[in-house]
C-alpha cells in the first residue's frame, strides 16, 4: 500500500469498494436469494402488526389446537392452525421473526463492539495487556459455547435479555481475536507509521486508521454470529432458559409445543421450519459476503 492510497478521497474509495462488493456478491445466486428472503423477514418483522391476522397472545378458547386450514378440521381465519391455548400460529410465527432478528442484531452488536474494543486494546498495546486479555478469551473459548451460555443464563436468571447477554459474551472472543490479529498485522504497516509520524493520537490511530482496514473479516464473522445467535437463542429457549412463555420466540414455542409432538404436528414443525429458513437465508448471505469481501478467496 502506498501513500497514494491515503491521498485518494475517502468517498471515491468507498464508492469503488461498494461497486466491487456488489459485483462479487451478485455473482453468488444463493446469496441473492438469501438476501431477498432476509429482506422479506425484516419486512414481516417490521410490519408484524399489519401482516399478522391476530394478536400473538390472543387466546381463542373455542379453537384449541386447530390444524392448518388445508387439513381436515381446519378453520378459516387460522391459516396455520392454533396452539394449545388457541393462539393463532401464523401470528405467533410472524411476531417470532421480530424476536429472532432482534436477538441477532443485539447479540452481534454487543459482541462486535465488545470484541473490537478488547481486541484493539490487546493488539495495539501488546505486552501484559495483550496477555491478560487473550488468556481470558482463551478461558471463555475453552467452554463449549452453548454450555457456558446455559450456565450464564442460569446465573443471570432465565429470560430473553439475559440469554442475549450470555450469548454475546460467549461470542465476543471470536471478534476480539480477529481484531487483534488484524491490528497486529496492520500496526507496522507504512500507512500507520505515516499517520503516527503525522501526529495522530492513540485513539485516532486505533479507531480511524487501523480499524477500517480490518473490517472485512469482522463483517464475515458478524453474519456468521448473527445466524448462530438465532440458533443458540432458540436452543436456549428450547431448554427453557431463553425467552419465557408466552412470548412467541420460535425456540420457546418449540419447547412449549413439544408435548404435542404426536398429536399436533404443526405446533412442532412450523417454528422449527421458521428457524431453519431464517438461519439458512442469513448463512447464504454470509457466504456471498465472504466471497465478495475476502480477496483471498476471490481469485480461486
Amino acid at each position: 500500500m502506498s501513500d497514494a492510497t491515503v491521498k485518494l478521497s475517502d468517498a471515491a474509495i468507498r464508492r469503488q469498494m461498494l461497486a466491487d462488493f456488489w459485483f462479487y456478491f451478485r455473482q453468488n445466486r444463493g446469496a441473492v436469494v438469501g438476501m431477498w428472503v432476509f429482506l422479506a423477514l425484516v419486512l414481516i418483522a417490521v410490519f408484524a402488526q399489519v401482516v399478522a391476522p391476530h394478536d400473538p397472545t390472543a387466546q381463542f378458547r373455542d379453537a384449541l389446537l386447530v390444524p392448518p386450514i388445508w387439513q381436515e378440521g381446519g378453520k378459516s381465519g387460522f391459516l396455520l392452525g392454533t396452539d394449545a391455548v388457541g393462539r393463532n400460529m401464523l401470528s405467533r410465527l410472524i411476531y417470532g421473526a421480530q424476536y429472532s432478528l432482534f436477538i441477532g442484531v443485539v447479540v452481534v452488536a454487543i459482541a462486535l463492539i465488545g470484541g473490537i474494543f478488547v481486541g484493539l486494546l490487546a493488539g495495539f498495546f501488546g505486552g501484559w495487556v495483550d496477555t491478560v486479555i487473550m488468556r481470558v478469551m482463551d478461558v471463555i473459548l475453552a467452554f463449549p459455547s452453548l454450555l457456558l451460555a446455559l450456565v450464564l443464563v442460569a446465573v443471570l436468571g432465565p429470560g430473553l435479555t439475559n440469554a442475549m447477554i450470555a450469548i454475546a459474551i460467549v461470542y465476543q472472543p471470536h471478534f476480539a481475536r480477529l481484531t487483534r490479529a488484524a491490528v497486529m498485522g496492520e500496526k507496522e504497516r507504512e500507512y500507520v507509521t505515516a499517520a503516527r509520524v503525522a501526529g495522530a493520537g492513540t485513539m485516532r490511530l486505533m479507531f480511524k486508521t487501523i480499524l477500517p482496514n480490518c473490517l472485512a473479516p469482522l463483517i464475515v464473522q458478524a453474519t456468521l454470529s448473527f445466524s448462530s445467535a438465532v440458533l443458540d437463542s432458540a436452543a436456549l429457549g428450547f431448554l427453557g432458559m431463553g425467552a419465557q412463555p408466552p412470548s412467541s420466540e420460535w425456540g420457546t414455542m418449540l419447547a412449549e409445543a413439544r408435548e404435542f409432538i404426536l398429536r399436533a404436528w404443526w405446533v412442532v414443525t412450523l417454528p422449527g421450519l421458521a428457524i431453519l429458513i431464517s438461519v439458512l437465508a442469513i448463512n447464504l448471505m454470509g457466504d456471498g459476503l465472504r466471497d465478495a469481501l475476502d480477496p483471498k478467496l476471490k481469485r480461486s
Binding site: L141, F143, P144, V155, S227, A234, G251, R258, N283
Partner: protein, 335 residues
C-alpha cells in the same frame, strides 16, 4: 519438539486456572439454593436450613470454599453430588463413555461423508453435484438440531418404526460394563444380536449430532481443496502431465488436509454443545444431559466439576490438534 510440547503445556496452566475460577465462581453465584430445592413445597425451618447449609459447607466464605475446592481438586477429589450423594468423578466416568461413543460415531460419520463430498465438490466445481451438496451442507449448517432430532424421531421411529426411540441398546441384552462403550461391550458379551441392537440405537442420535460437523467439514474441505489446487506446485504438477487423480491424491489432498484436521479438531466443542441437545432429545445417558439436569437441580459440585472436566477436555483436544498440526507442518513448530 519436546520444547514445543512443553511450551504449549505451560501456556495452558494459566488458562486452566482461569477455567477453575469460572467453573467455581459462576456456579456459586447461581441464584437458588439446593437446600430449598431438597425441601420442596413443604418448606424448611430456618434452623434446619442453617444446619443443612453448614453440613454441606455452604456457610463458609466463598474464597475459602474456592481454596477448598482447589485443594480437593489437587487430590483428584471432585466432591460429591448433592442429589445422589455419590462422587462426581465416579458419575462422570459412568456417563462419559456414552457421550464419547456418540461423539466418536458422529465425527466418524461427519468425516467419512464430509471429506469425500468436499473433495469431489472441489474437483467438480460448479457441477450439479457441487451445487446440490453445498446447498445441502448449508442447510445442515443452519439446522436447529433439537428440532431436527424431533423430526427424525417422528419419522423413523414413529411413522416408519425402523429405529428404536431412545436408549443405548435393547433391554433384552444385559451384560456388565467392561469398557463402557456399548458397541465394544456388546461384542465382548458374545450375545447374538447385541451389537446390531446397539448400532441401531446409535444411528439417529449420531446422525443428528453429526449434522453440523458434517456440513462444516464438507464446506471446509471444499474450500481448502480449491485453495490448494490453485497453488503453484499443483499447477506445475498438472502442467508436467501428472494424471489428475495423482495430482489430487498426492499433492492437493495432503496439503488440504491440514486445515481440515484443524476443523475436525475444533468440532469437539461443537459436539459437546450438540451433545447437550441431542442427549436431551434422545434420553441418552451421557454427560450433556447430566449437566443440564444438574444445572436445573442446582447440584453445585456436579456443575462445577462437570464444567471443569469438559473444558479441560476441550483444551486437551485442542492441544492434540496443535501438536498434530506441528507435526504435519514443521514451520509452525519453529516459529
Amino acid at each position: 519438539m519436546i520444547r514445543f510440547i512443553l511450551g504449549k503445556l505451560l501456556y495452558l496452566v494459566p488458562t486452566f486456572v482461569g477455567i477453575t475460577i469460572i467453573a467455581f465462581g459462576f456456579v456459586r453465584i447461581l441464584p437458588g439454593d439446593p437446600v430449598l430445592l431438597m425441601a420442596g413445597e413443604r418448606g424448611i425451618s430456618p434452623e434446619r436450613h442453617a444446619a443443612l447449609s453448614a453440613q454441606l459447607g455452604f456457610d463458609q466464605p466463598i474464597w475459602l470454599q474456592y481454596l477448598q475446592f482447589l485443594g480437593r481438586l489437587f487430590h483428584g477429589d471432585l466432591g460429591n453430588s448433592l442429589v445422589t450423594k455419590k462422587p462426581v468423578m465416579a458419575e462422570f466416568l459412568t456417563l462419559f463413555p456414552a457421550t464419547v461413543e456418540l461423539g466418536l460415531v458422529a465425527i466418524i460419520i461427519a468425516t467419512a461423508i464430509g471429506v469425500p463430498v468436499g473433495v469431489l465438490a472441489a474437483i467438480k466445481r460448479g457441477s450439479w453435484f457441487d451445487q446440490v451438496s453445498m446447498t445441502a451442507a448449508l442447510v445442515g449448517f443452519s439446522m436447529p438440531i433439537f428440532w431436527w432430532g424431533l423430526l427424525l424421531i417422528i419419522f423413523f421411529s414413529g411413522i416408519l418404526g425402523w429405529t428404536p426411540v431412545s436408549g443405548r441398546i435393547s433391554l433384552i441384552y444385559f451384560f456388565p460394563d467392561v469398557t463402557g462403550f456399548m458397541l465394544i461391550d456388546s461384542i465382548i458379551s458374545g450375545q447374538k444380536g447385541a451389537f446390531t441392537s446397539a448400532l441401531s440405537h446409535l444411528i439417529l442420535p449420531s446422525v443428528v449430532l453429526a449434522t453440523i460437523p458434517l456440513a462444516v467439514i464438507a464446506r471446509q474441505t471444499r474450500s481448502a481443496m480449491l485453495e490448494v489446487m490453485g497453488e503453484d506446485y499443483v499447477r506445475t504438477a498438472r502442467a508436467k502431465g501428472m494424471p489428475p487423480s495423482r495430482v489430487v491424491g498426492v499433492h492437493a489432498l495432503r496439503n488440504a488436509m491440514i486445515p481440515v484436521i484443524t476443523t475436525i479438531g475444533l468440532q469437539i466443542g461443537v459436539l459437546m454443545a450438540g451433545a447437550i441437545l441431542t442427549e436431551t432429545i434422545f434420553s441418552w445417558p451421557g454427560i450433556g444431559k447430566w449437566m443440564i439436569d444438574s444445572i436445573s437441580r442446582r447440584d453445585y459440585p456436579v456443575v462445577q466439576s462437570g464444567l471443569l472436566l469438559i473444558a479441560g477436555l476441550v483444551m486437551l483436544v485442542n492441544l492434540l490438534v496443535d501438536l498434530t498440526y506441528g507435526l504435519i507442518n514443521p514451520r509452525i513448530r519453529h516459529k
